[in-house]
Amino acid sequence: MSLNSRARTTGLWILRVGVAVVCLLPFYWLANVSLSTPSAVYKIPVDYFPDPAVTDNFRSVFETRQFPQNIWNSFVVASLTTLLTLGLGAPAAYALARLRVRHKEFVMAVFLGIAIFPAIGMVGPLYVAMARLGLINSYPALVLPYTLTSLPLAVWILTHYFGTLPGSLEDAALVDGCSPGEAFLRIILPVSTPGLFTAAALIFIFAWNEFLFALIMTSTPASRTVPVALALFAGLHELPWGTIAAATLVSIVPVLILVAVFQRQIVEGLTAGTQK
């Protein structure tokens, strides 16, 4: 390796590490504030390391009964949304990818149309409907709209995934005496777990993060999901930055785990539509 190209490689790595640092710096700052004492948070110039490091903020996050409840709400809503979306989306994607569906373009256009319509436009009428049904502050008030908005993504990813499976799979199943429906349930679905996990990870992240519907469909502290609880935190107390930072850190743990475990699948899911 020549000196020039070695310098270039080093330069590129400095830039790469720089990008990673920019991405991660806010997390560091959040951790720093969350481990500081209330008086240290208001010190200027700031401390770049928590001194002394205290866990009081985390304790107060879990001592207020509300926040664990909010985490549980988010977990239930995101899980149910993921299951329902896959339950509806996987069969549809299978039909679109591997069977001769008439008016296929029309069906795809319906899903695409849902994806384009502004969420702020759906939330009003759905709020009125949910209020009439007495579902405000309930899980269905969030799970149903989330399923609607994540269905296009699921159909999109899974149609691509099913399309990549070899065509001989169903033939073999039919020879073995499976009905076409059984071929889908017993053969195609089991071999499609990587694709299903990709879709599931993206849907779960989306539902865990959603804010607008959650803000409008819930009105009591106990029924809120994490993002809404976090956003309304500031209004409740005298800007307890340490507690806010601790709650924020706790709320992203599921996302951190998902990204760490499914990093490759998430990238595949995001880029599913772009290559053929």
């Binding site: 110039p45 436009g121 009428p125 609607l148 039919l174 993060n209 976090l230 998430i266 880029t271």
Partner: protein
């Protein structure tokens, strides 16, 4: 497979999701259109009635709507523009990394995977005028005498854009990285054999082959940015000239409970986003035509 049997199977596979979309999706969309021609305030639910185009007439004369439309446009153009440029740079930096690829990818994806509310909270902490990191560093360096109010008038929009760029540049980078991976190595080898320099390879090989990917990222990002709500809601609540259309609609619908007027604004926003995406899709078509240079 027998035809009728397959038809029955297709129906069973497609019906659940299509019925769901029809009930949950078509209903709100259609009712927005209907509501936009009515006077309907949730606070006075009895006094509702058909008012023709009057909500739209009001919209045409609403200076707040015009102001917010401009601010939404500004937010969209600047943030999406920055995200494309930075996303391309990051994608090129990460392309062909072997060692440490997983660690880098994970670091890059994290901002995108976070709740927007969380990202906005982080940045409001960093840019806080009294206890924030940025003012503290600037103060220690002696660059400022008094704290800068980053989320106050004048600077708030820039801070919001910065937070959005941090959060969504990874999305653009991931899409463009997939694009870079799809370019066969032979293209670069051929270009190098022809004696092309780095800039020429970028300009005449990479960029043209990347165009469809840029178009996809541009389409998704523009549609999302134009409907932006969370970042701004958390950082400023729409104060200091950062109010976007989605925030204004939220206020009209849920603070003033004015469903009729709010619906008319929603229909307008939908029309704008729809037109924007048509324009961008046209641009995509053009850019997907074979390159001849």
């Amino acid at each position: 497979m027998h035809e009728p049997r397959q038809k029955r199977l297709i129906m069973w596979l497609l019906a659940p999701s299509l019925v769901f979309v029809a009930v949950m999706g078509a209903f709100p969309v259609l009712s927005q259109f209907v509501l936009s021609f009515t006077e309907f305030n949730m606070k006075f639910a009895d006094e509702r009635g058909f008012v023709g185009l009057s909500n739209y007439m009001r919209l045409a004369g609403d200076s707040i709507f015009r102001q917010d439309l401009w601010q939404t446009f500004l937010f969209t153009v600047v943030s999406v523009g920055l995200e494309l440029v930075l996303g391309l740079a990051v994608a090129m930096l990460l392309n062909r990394v072997r060692r440490g690829r997983t660690a880098l990818n994970t670091a890059i994806i994290l901002p995108w995977a976070l709740p927007t509310v969380v990202a906005a909270t982080m940045w409001s902490l960093i840019f806080n005028d009294r206890v924030g990191l940025v003012n503290s560093i600037l103060g220690q360096l002696g660059a400022i005498q008094s704290p800068i109010v980053w989320l106050g008038p004048g600077l708030a929009m820039i801070t919001c854009i910065l937070a959005d760029v941090w959060k969504t540049t990874p999305f653009v980078a991931i899409i463009l990285l997939a694009g870079l991976k799809s370019v066969p190595d032979q293209y670069y080898e051929a270009a190098e054999l022809d004696g092309a320099g780095r800039w020429q390879v970028f300009r005449y090989v990479t960029l043209p082959l990347l165009k469809p990917f840029i178009a996809v990222a541009l389409l998704f990002r523009t549609m999302d940015a134009f409907r932006v709500f969370d970042v701004i809601w958390v950082l400023t609540g729409g104060a200091s000239r950062t109010e976007t259309l989605s925030i204004y609609i939220y206020k009209v619908l849920f603070r003033y409970s004015d469903m009729g007027y709010g619906s008319a604004m929603t229909v307008a926003l939908f029309a704008i986003v729809f037109l924007l995406s048509l324009v961008l899709i046209r641009f995509m078509r053009i850019s997907q035509e074979p390159v001849s240079e």
